[in-house]
């Protein structure tokens, strides 16, 4: 009886995995079938055009890369610093617990809300306009809760013996955190960052809210440049009357997928390297 239950659970969890993978495979197959033929070097190097066969994604691809790099650069230090405070300094206070609850809730706030916040705070109040900086700041806010939560989890996995050993050798709290705790927690921190950036790169709603739904036929040349990103270009193509643009949209989705996968691959390699160093 116990064995059967075990077998049944095995089967159910395997079925769950298969369902998830099949759905993904069907999606990828469908997109490749629709847009695969449209992919070419020219598609990657051309900019937006009203002629579907001349249109490309260069400007949007570069925009996505600019925005996501800047988002990571903003979210990582702030998120890690906030988590270090919560986990290492303020962990016993009721305030910290209250903040922790709120951060967990913030992670579930719909992204459009962050877009409206970004519009009010970054675009208007801080006068950033519809710049790469405003977009990345908005997405960084969106990514922060996940970065903070996963960093806290990673910090918790560092054994207390490490900290105690460090203190015993006369290290200050800061030296302990910087030299011992953070390096050991780095793989977990990076995983959280990858997850949140992967979400951010596919976001459309908050960027539309800050006004990035625009024909922008050039790649950003700085953080104050106007920009568009791949999901918005795809959205734009899908909403056009000509069916040829649907093919472009499918090809655009493929480019976004490849960008996402390669971004994750780089992050995983970096993470594994740190993990090995941590164990050594």
């Amino acid at each position: 009886m116990r064995k059967q239950a075990d077998l049944l659970f095995h089967a159910v969890s395997l079925a769950a995995l298969v369902i998830a993978l099949v759905a993904l495979a069907v999606l990828v197959f469908d997109i490749v079938a629709d847009g695969g033929s449209r992919l070419s070097w020219q598609f990657l190097t051309n900019i937006a055009s009203r002629h579907p066969e001349e249109a490309g994604v260069y400007h949007a691809l570069m925009g996505s890369i600019w925005v996501i790099l800047l988002t990571g650069a903003l979210a990582l230090p702030i998120g890690v610093a906030a988590a270090v405070y919560l986990e290492e300094y303020g962990t016993r206070s009721r305030l910290a617990r209250f903040i922790e609850l709120n951060i967990a809730n913030l992670a579930a706030v719909p992204s459009i809300i962050y877009g409206l916040l970004g519009l009010g705070l970054f675009v208007r109040f801080l006068g950033m306009g519809q710049s790469v900086m405003a977009g990345a700041s908005t997405l960084a806010l969106l990514a922060l809760p996940v970065v903070i939560l996963s960093t806290r989890e990673a910090l918790r996995t560092v054994p207390s013996t490490i900290r105690e050993g460090s203190y015993a050798l006369g290290a200050t709290k800061w030296q302990t955190i910087w030299n011992q705790v953070l390096p050991m927690a780095l793989p977990g921190i990076l995983t959280g960052l990858i997850l949140s950036l992967s979400r951010a790169i596919g976001e459309t709603a908050p960027l539309i809210a800050i006004g990035a739904l625009t024909y922008i036929p050039f790649a950003p040349d700085g953080i104050w440049s106007k920009f568009t990103v791949l999901p918005i270009q795809i959205f734009n193509w899908v909403s056009r009357p000509q069916p040829e643009f649907k093919v472009n949209a499918a090809a655009g989705i493929l480019v976004l997928l490849v960008l996402l996968v390669s971004m994750n691959a780089v992050a995983i390699v970096v993470r594994d390297r740190f993990q090995r160093r941590g164990r050594a």
Binding site: A82, A140, G222, W224
Partner: protein
């Protein structure tokens, strides 16, 4: 209250970073447009005008690679909001500037030059299978879309007894769009006065999708969208029951929109140029290019050009920087090219 310190604390570095970058950026970030690098012309507004402005922008940049043009889509109303805050140089509008927008621009000291650039028609369409819907009168459209039809007019035979006793499913442009404003003004007599229980979308493709997959559907959408999807939709000719501008039901097309017989559902579309922005050479060049090429490009994106003589007058209007609006406040329902021309001449 308790949350505030930490929120501010976590935002402070971003703000500080922004200020630092802004300081580094120096003069280049003034106004957000950037004076270093290529000159930038920014347009925003109606999704109806977007295809035309985008086509002009694309062609303009082919001949002026050192100038950049961006075209946003935030609706005619959204465009004017930004325009009156001087965030953009040119506002795309599918209706004339409204009294409240004139006031907002006036308060902010933004002066504008109003330039009609093309004509657009609103098409009434059904599913190809709805073979009974061969024509519709303006009065019947009013029966369908009047505010008091809400919840009451639900079947085809309530509009015309000869039509089937089956449900009618209504589709229309989103309530923030200039298309909706214009349609309601032309049909129910008052802008934005409409029943609320119909499927509305700012994305016209949703309407095409909806109508083409529902044989009991009837909807209104920009003519250009009908043209691109002609095989999936059936056009319903509209009879305004005024024989002096074409007797009987008339279907929209380049000819009937241009000669003013497809009434009341064809309208001029505009660009509004900020007078301050027009001082900049790149904006001036772009607007001149726009007016010069609008006729040809309008045809390409399934709009109807004003005709050569009218464009000459529009170009003159820009050259003399004639401000104000000819159309604002005036009833523009049923404005034909001829009337447009004489209004321009009268100035």
């Amino acid at each position: 209250m308790l949350l505030l310190p930490i929120r501010l604390a976590s935002l402070a570095p971003i703000a500080a970073l922004a200020v630092t970058f802004a300081a580094c950026g120096g003069g280049s970030s003034s106004g957000g447009t950037g004076s270093s690098g290529p000159a930038l012309v920014s347009l925003d507004g109606s999704s109806t005008v977007f295809p035309l402005s985008e086509a002009v922008a694309e062609e303009f940049q082919k001949s002026n690679p050192n100038m950049r043009v961006t075209v946003g889509i935030s609706g005619t109303g959204g465009g004017f909001q930004k325009f009156c805050r001087a965030e953009i140089d040119i506002s795309d509008a599918s209706r004339p500037i409204s009294a409240s927008e004139v006031e907002a621009c006036g308060k902010a000291g933004v002066e504008y030059i109003e330039l009609p650039v093309a004509y657009d028609g609103i098409a009434i369409a059904t599913n190809p299978k709805a073979d009974w819907a061969d024509k519709i009168t303006v009065a019947e459209l009013k029966t369908l879309w009047a505010p008091d039809a809400q919840g009451k007019v639900k079947t085809w035979n309530q509009v015309r007894p000869a039509w089937p006793n089956r449900e009618i499913h209504l589709f229309g442009a989103g309530v923030d769009s200039g298309t909706f404003d214009y349609f309601t003004e032309a049909i129910t007599g008052k802008a934005k006065a409409s029943r609320g229980d119909f499927t509305s979308s700012e994305d016209d493709n949703v309407l095409v999708q909806g109508i083409s997959s529902d044989e009991l559907a009837l909807g209104f959408l920009p003519f250009a969208y009908y043209e691109e999807n002609a095989s999936r939709l059936k056009l319903v000719p509209v009879d305004d029951e005024k024989p002096d501008n074409g007797a009987g039901p008339i279907a929209p097309g380049a000819e009937t929109i241009r000669n003013g017989t497809y009434q009341p559902l064809s309208r001029p579309i505009f660009i509004y140029v900020s007078r301050t922005a027009a001082e900049r050479p790149e904006v001036q060049r772009f607007v001149e290019f726009y007016v010069k090429n609008a006729d040809e490009l309008a045809r390409e994106v399934n709009y109807v050009g004003l005709g050569g003589a009218a464009y000459q007058l529009v170009a003159d209007r820009f050259a003399t920087r004639t401000g104000g609006s000819v159309f604002s406040g005036a009833n523009t329902i049923g404005v034909t090219i001829d009337q447009l021309l004489s209004k321009e001449r009268a100035r």
